[in-house]
Symmetry: C2
């Protein structure tokens, strides 16, 4: 059994110090980190090469190895990201609201760090630095539990960050990487209520589910996106084709990519062949309902119940013809993961109905779901895209890594 | 095993309808409810009398029976509370922020209901109406699981609310009371991820802990308050006595009452006898550290480790003499439940240090902790006081029963 207590105590202590640390020092730590990542590029790449080689020997899937592998350019990109975080405004200390009550009590609601943020993620070394940088900037201690395949790379990256934190006068334990990458350490973190203030899993649906099922620590679910695009009756078909093509093929492996298209029956016969023609350019496999197959022919695979629920993250698209917008809304209500959904329509009333009825983090009218992203939404950076409804929903920036505190000043008031 | 599915489906459907219901209808349902509570006073009191008699036969503690018992005046108070909720502004639909991105995308962040709110509470029938009214006003369906001793009363109250919802054109299932009051139904609600969007337990520390331990549904912890008052060196002792007296004795059974007093060593010898003299008027039992006993004598009970952690909710106060403000902050960091803490001081630097170091929902300077309350903070009403850091912290009003949704409007934008 992995004992989280020593880590928990160290992180709590670091968090306490970080909470009252000004932006200057936090920014200094980040700027130093960016510099050191570049300076230590060679040793980072060496360790990464070891990780990659070990993963290849274990026959890890090539898409996963792609995510694991760093090169000079990617390290430079990571360092640049850290500098961008340093440039963002510090959310801590913001007075959100305040008033003087009739009895003279002065109440201020101010933004403070959450405390200790736990992050469980897969073998993507960039997450180590991105996530820790965002936590540090928002005054939180970060406890990182990355995937085992990236452990050598992560150890170097975390030690760079810890060194730089220390150099800037912050606690070394502002960033803690768990050396244990077994299920044990992840489970221990999930049960560390009192030590960890929030757990943000970043990864596939299985990881998220496991955190939800097993955590006593509050979890923010992120990044599972079974995103839908509904093509309404009153639609410019070219716009719809462009949006679907972009949402499916511009980067199919990400959570805001489109997985299912719903088409109004009245336009299906005209629209589906146009769509298929475009998607054929990217060899997108279509899995359709009966009517879709009838219109497009046998090149379309039969869609099963699993297809409606699937987050393919691949060049595959499920297609269903629906009788009405209400059927589309019902389908989405049943299968959506609450990430991003879109209606393509020229009807004001349809757009209104769709945006008010769909219960997802981001609801689009006539634009690609690919825009659900911290940078595109103007947050500057993101630690993930929340599909939870509590605390944060949609792209989570620095503000979403904070909580509030009421400070109440009096001159001896008592309650009567 | 209790099967939550039918309840879950009914609540989800009600929530979907409620989400797009305007304030008019919701207010109408509340106004009707207030009227019907008065009109049906007699039958409510009859059922309540049955509950009280059954509880007395089971030898339930008299303080609990007091909470269970209704009378005409309490019913009128509950009805008045419902009218006050009807009067509050509706948080749903508020545009929190919005902008047009460089690519022309129009992004609005708007306030929407959470969906289905689960409330697990003890045998206090007023909570049935209070909580359901707040949920309904904020567009949420409420699933209520009250204590078994209040079941007869709760059934009448819930059916009044359901009738009134229906009369106002809202779904009857906007308010659902679980008839099963065994542990089974509570556990089923805790595991109803996908059906219940948030669980708000209202009750003692044991209930809250059980929800945190067992829930897959997100939980907001509420109302466990081991609240501290620290009497600093530079203090007007009379103000300190007044504040502590108020925070301990004005209503000792509530979560914002003071449970432990910490006194700076330099003033202890002068201050403690003054404090004891005042608290003796209310027969407050003191449990003190060694030095407290030395100063006040053998009338003080030895404080044990449990006393520092205790939420007495009674005429008992733990007292400890500390060497420095840092010791006070450390003590509070160790034993506090994160609810409300106070420093009594005339020193700006001590006040600053205390408010920035204490990690609780409400931190006071020179005022009674009893003010941590939705009405006192100007929220109009509250569904509980969150000691969680996620989503809501401190008194939770209507806004805290909502989440957000991004609505993104374009004219065919795709991501490049």
């Amino acid at each position: 059994m992995f004992d989280f207590t020593p880590t928990g105590i160290a992180a709590r202590e670091a968090a306490r110090a970080l909470a009252s640390t000004g932006s200057d020092k936090k920014n200094e730590a980040l700027i130093l980190t960016a510099r050191e990542l570049i300076a230590q590029k060679r040793s980072i790449l060496e360790k990464n090469e070891e990780d990659v080689r070990a993963a290849e020997e274990k026959c890890v899937k090539s898409t996963l190895i792609d995510r694991l592998r760093l090169d000079e350019k990617r390290i430079e990109g990571i360092a640049e990201g850290v500098l961008k975080v340093a440039d963002l405004p510090d959310p801590v200390g913001e007075v959100i609201s305040g008033e003087t009550r009739p009895n003279g009590l002065q109440i201020r609601k101010i933004r403070v760090p959450l405390g200790v943020v736990g992050i469980i993620y897969e073998s993507r070394p960039n997450v180590t630095v991105d996530a820790a940088a965002l936590c540090l900037k928002s005054g939180n201690a970060a406890v990182l539990r990355g995937g085992s395949d990236a452990i050598r790379t992560n150890v170097v990256l975390a030690s760079v960050m810890r060194d730089c934190a220390e150099k800037a006068g912050l606690p070394r334990d502002s960033v803690i990487l768990l050396a244990d990458t077994t299920r044990d350490s992840a489970n221990a973190m999930m049960r560390a209520h009192g030590f960890v203030d929030v757990l943000i899993p970043r990864g596939g649906a299985g990881l998220i589910r496991s955190c939800v099922e097993n955590s006593t620590v509050p979890v923010i679910e992120t990044g599972v996106g079974n995103c839908h695009i509904y093509v309404d009756r009153d639609t410019d078909p070219n716009m719809a084709v462009n949006i679907i093509d972009n949402a499916k093929t511009q980067r199919p492996g990400v959570c805001n990519a489109c997985e299912t298209v719903l088409v109004h029956r009245d336009v299906a016969e005209n629209f589906l062949p146009m769509l298929k023609k475009r998607l054929d350019e990217h060899n997108v496999e279509l899995r359709g309902c009966e009517l879709t197959k009838k219109i497009l022919g046998d090149c379309v695979v039969d869609a099963t119940e699993e297809d409606w629920a699937a987050e393919y993250l691949d060049y595959i698209l499920a297609v269903r013809v629906v009788d009405t917008i209400d059927d589309a809304i019902e389908h989405i209500g049943k299968y959506s993961t609450g990430h991003s959904e879109c209606i393509v329509t020229d009807s004001v009333s349809a757009a209104e109905k769709f945006t008010s009825s769909i219960d997802s983090a981001a609801v689009y009218v006539n634009a690609s779901t690919r825009f659900t992203d911290g940078f595109e939404f103007g947050l500057g950076a993101e630690i993930g895209i929340s599909t939870s409804k509590l605390h944060a929903r949609g792209p989570m920036g620095l503000r979403e890594l904070t909580t509030v505190k009421y400070i109440v000043s009096g001159r001896g008031q008592i309650r009567r």
